[in-house]
């Protein structure tokens, strides 16, 4: 779904033929408004600029799409509370066989260790609580900053 009015957005892409100072071949940064209608486009932009060609297998691309959509949704809804005066910052890097996507919001953060696992039989019919669980199972590594308003996801090419 595309937003009826194109949302405001800042996108910077830096692509190199040889690794840059941080080892990155591709660096993408995006400043996204706190509007869930942007998520699909942002996921598409990231995939297009980071995973062009056959670099990642189909399943990895799928997993990255879902994990990125989740992280954006959490940043926009749980983090920034859909406050349009706040932004979500996305940084993505392709380094060697890894792709790293970092999503940072302007909210208070949270304690990811306190989030329960959502797959107990009694919880199966709860409508939420599956986002972080999905992310952790779809990418190879997930880290948060101390405050909890920034998540960094790493996926390795296989």
């Amino acid at each position: 779904m595309t937003a009826p009015l194109p949302a405001s957005l800042r996108l910077c892409v830096r692509r190199r033929r040889v690794p840059g100072p941080t080892g990155a071949m591709v660096q993408v940064s995006l400043r996204v408004p706190s509007d869930v209608a942007c998520i699909e486009e942002v996921v598409d932009l990231l995939m297009r600029h980071c995973c062009d060609g056959g670099w990642l297998c189909r399943r990895s691309r799928f997993n990255l799409r879902v994990a990125t959509a989740e992280a954006l949704a959490n940043a926009i809804v749980a983090g920034n509370q859909e406050d349009r005066s706040k932004w979500v910052q996305v940084q993505a890097e392709v380094c060697g066989d890894e792709i790293r996507i970092e999503v940072t919001d302007q909210g208070p953060g949270f304690d990811p260790a306190a989030v329960p696992t959502p797959i107990l039989p009694d919880d199966l019919d709860r409508p939420n609580g599956r986002g972080l669980f999905l992310i952790k199972n779809l990418v190879d590594d997930v880290r948060f900053n101390a405050q909890g308003n920034s998540i960094c996801m790493t996926l390795r090419r296989r």
Binding site: M1, V36, A37, I39, E40, R58, R59, F62, R65, V66, A69, E70, A73, V77, P118, I119, P121, L124, D125, R126, P127, N128, G129, R130, G131, F133, L134, N137, L138
Partner: protein, 113 residues
């Protein structure tokens, strides 16, 4: 339009999700099912053969929809999940909660006459 709904001859209401089912549009799907329930539809298939990806809000919306349909004495089946989409249901164990058919045709056919 991300959702297209058709009612088949056997009286089964088939909703196809085109594109993504995510936080930005799941409400539309919930509304579509609610309206159909209000119009006395009771047999639903949600088909994902033209779906790209689903996020946790989309999965959550399916859980809510399933509950609503059951509460009103209806039945819901899912269909058309490719390997990637199916893995999301398996990871979250939601494959145990939903009746899942390979294709929309089979899902329709599996409703008791």
């Amino acid at each position: 339009m991300p959702f297209t709904a058709t009612k088949d001859q056997a009286g089964v209401y088939v909703i196809r999700v085109e594109g993504q089912l995510i936080v930005g549009n799941r409400q539309e799907l919930k509304t579509a099912v609610q309206q159909a329930l209000d119009h006395d539809e009771r047999r639903f298939v949600i088909d994902f053969s033209r779906t790209g990806y689903i996020d946790s809000s989309g999965l959550g919306a399916l859980v809510s929809i399933s509950k609503k349909v059951r509460e009103q004495g209806g039945e819901l089946r899912l269909s058309g999940l490719n390997e990637d989409l199916r893995s999301l249901f398996e990871l979250t164990k939601l494959d145990t909660l939903f009746a899942i058919s390979d294709t929309a045709e089979r899902a329709v056919g599996s409703f008791a006459g």
